[in-house]
């Protein structure tokens, strides 16, 4: 399955060219998107995403969906990158060592069960 807009956004993250959509009022959002969800502006432009974010909340999941059974337990985290937040699977860190405030960077990983790409966060 391909998801135009989202796939290219993941491509960009994988190439170290992560971006978000910035409206003319400075609000952030993520593609695919035609209109700013905050103010209704149609003026959306691709703007470089800050290189690092901080974990705002996270959970260690012991009972995952069937696509994630092989990864249990795994950590899903939401990190604040300033104009946008990103939800990702936190990798390269022991679940017991994760804390709110941890500095992370985005990357593209793969779900081995489905072959789908996914957004990954790694400590930076």
């Amino acid at each position: 399955m391909s998801d135009e807009g989202f796939d290219e956004w993941l491509d960009a993250i994988g190439e170290g060219e992560a971006f978000y959509l910035e409206c003319d009022e400075g609000h952030g959002s993520l593609p695919p998107r035609r209109i700013c969800p905050h103010c209704g502006s149609f003026e959306l432009s691709e703007t470089p995403l800050p290189a690092s974010g901080t974990v705002e909340t996270f959970t260690t999941v012991y009972v995952g969906t069937p696509d994630f059974t092989d990864e249990e337990p795994y950590v899903t985290a939401i990190a604040d990158f300033g104009p946008v937040r990103l939800t990702g699977v936190l990798r390269d860190v022991d679940p017991d060592d994760v804390e709110v405030g941890l500095t992370v960077e985005p990357d593209v990983g793969r779900n081995e069960a489905t072959g789908d790409r996914l957004l990954v966060l790694r400590p930076r």
Partner: protein, 388 residues
């Protein structure tokens, strides 16, 4: 604007009925509501039906006409879907339809069949209430999403797993005497804390069970009730709905639920009441933390204050404002697409005085119900009042 009365209510036993079809479950609840109301089937002008995952559980889309047929109705039928808020939305649209004068009698309710699926498929089905691209692919489950909100709440306001355990204990206590509840087993704080972790910081005893069940209500105009001499002392005097971004990451704040605040503000203004008038509440405690967010959104508590309410004994059956006297989703059970209707059914019984827990609120005039979809990207609140 026509007033709206609850003429009859019906529920199935909530619990595990893996062998029973959805149509049979809904028919049981609908026929019970019809019988209690005394309204002839020809007078029922519409069916508003809530369901979330029938396509996954029974490979059944287009459920509403099927459910009308099962309930012995020959009328237009429409399915409402807002995840766990599906039946609450079906009730809301019924209220609006009766108020508008478009119909005098509407049957509203919902159904979910879940236990015929294995745990993995239920987990996957529930997860689809989240954002597929930005959440599900990153392993977000339904408990995981509320765990993210719980940690955000703890970070902002403080609170502990023990505070949450007191909510689970309270709701199991309340379900004990409720004949429709899934669990008739009291638990202790220690038991809740010792339960296996599902999505840290939430454990198994913070989570509602997987439930089959159905709910139904016959809603009529004041005029119809008077004309036909119906015994219908409970009215729906307020309704409100709110919405929010689907993905948690896009919310302004992850430690509160503004959609429910909007729904509550609208419903309270509609009924011309304030939070201080509320005598009892049935709220959407799919996870213990959700009850905290709900009572804060309803204005019963300031933000950050709801976490200790059960522990302090303020929301228990003998507290100032009992919350989830039915047992809530936690212990009564959560047949997703039926839950919102069941809350209105239970509040109706509580206010009429024929609920096993009515003696906890003998003088209650005003009850509210709070039903939320997903991580509260959709929310619906109703105000019910009883003739005294």
């Amino acid at each position: 604007m026509a007033g709206v009365r609850v003429a009859g209510v019906g529920l199935t036993q909530f619990g595990r009925h893996p062998e029973r079809t959805g149509r049979d479950l809904f028919a049981e609840a609908a026929l019970a509501a019809r019988e209690e109301s005394g309204v002839p089937s020809d007078d029922i002008e519409e069916l508003n039906f809530g369901n979330y995952m029938g396509v996954l559980a029974e490979r059944q889309g287009h459920m509403a006409p099927l459910m009308a047929e099962a309930a012995g109705l020959d009328c237009p039928a429409t399915r409402y879907e807002d995840a766990c808020a599906s039946a609450g939305m079906a009730v809301r649209e019924a209220v609006r339809t009766v108020r508008s004068g478009e119909s005098d009698v509407v049957l509203a309710g919902g159904l979910e069949r879940m236990t015929n699926l294995d745990t993995a498929d239920v987990t996957e089905g529930l997860a689809t209430a989240a954002d597929e691209l930005f959440e599900i692919r990153q392993g977000m489950t339904f408990p995981g999403a509320y765990a993210l909100m719980a940690r955000a709440y703890f970070e902002r306001y403080g609170g502990s797993r023990e505070d949450l355990a007191h909510i689970a204990v309270k709701n199991h206590d309340n379900a004990f005497e409720n004949e429709y509840a899934q669990f008739h087993r009291k638990i202790t704080v220690e038991e809740a804390l010792d339960a296996p972790m599902v999505a840290d910081p939430l454990g198994l005893m913070d989570a509602c069970p997987v439930t089959d069940g159905a709910s139904a209500l016959v809603l009529v105009s004041d005029e119809y009730a008077a004309e036909h001499g119906l015994d219908a002392p409970v009215s729906v005097t307020g309704t409100g709905q709110g919405g929010d971004n689907l993905a948690l990451q896009d919310r302004r704040d992850m430690a509160s639920t503004p959609a429910a605040e909007k729904a509550a503000d609208e419903a309270f203004a509609d009924a011309d009441i304030s939070p201080g008038d509320v005598d009892a509440a049935e709220v959407h405690d799919c996870f213990t933390i959700a009850e905290v967010l709900a009572i804060e959104s309803l204005g019963l508590y300031e933000r950050g204050e709801g976490i200790g309410a059960a522990r302090r004994g303020e929301t228990t059956a003998d507290g100032d404002v009992p919350v989830n006297l039915s047992g809530g989703l936690k212990a009564k059970g959560h047949p997703v697409g039926a839950t919102g209707g069941s809350q209105v059914v239970e509040m109706t019984r509580l206010l009429r005085g024929d609920h096993p827990n009515s003696d906890a609120v003998p003088d209650a005039d005003v009850g509210v119900t709070h039903n939320a979809g997903g991580t509260v990207a959709s929310a619906v609140v109703h105000v019910l009042e009883v003739d005294r």
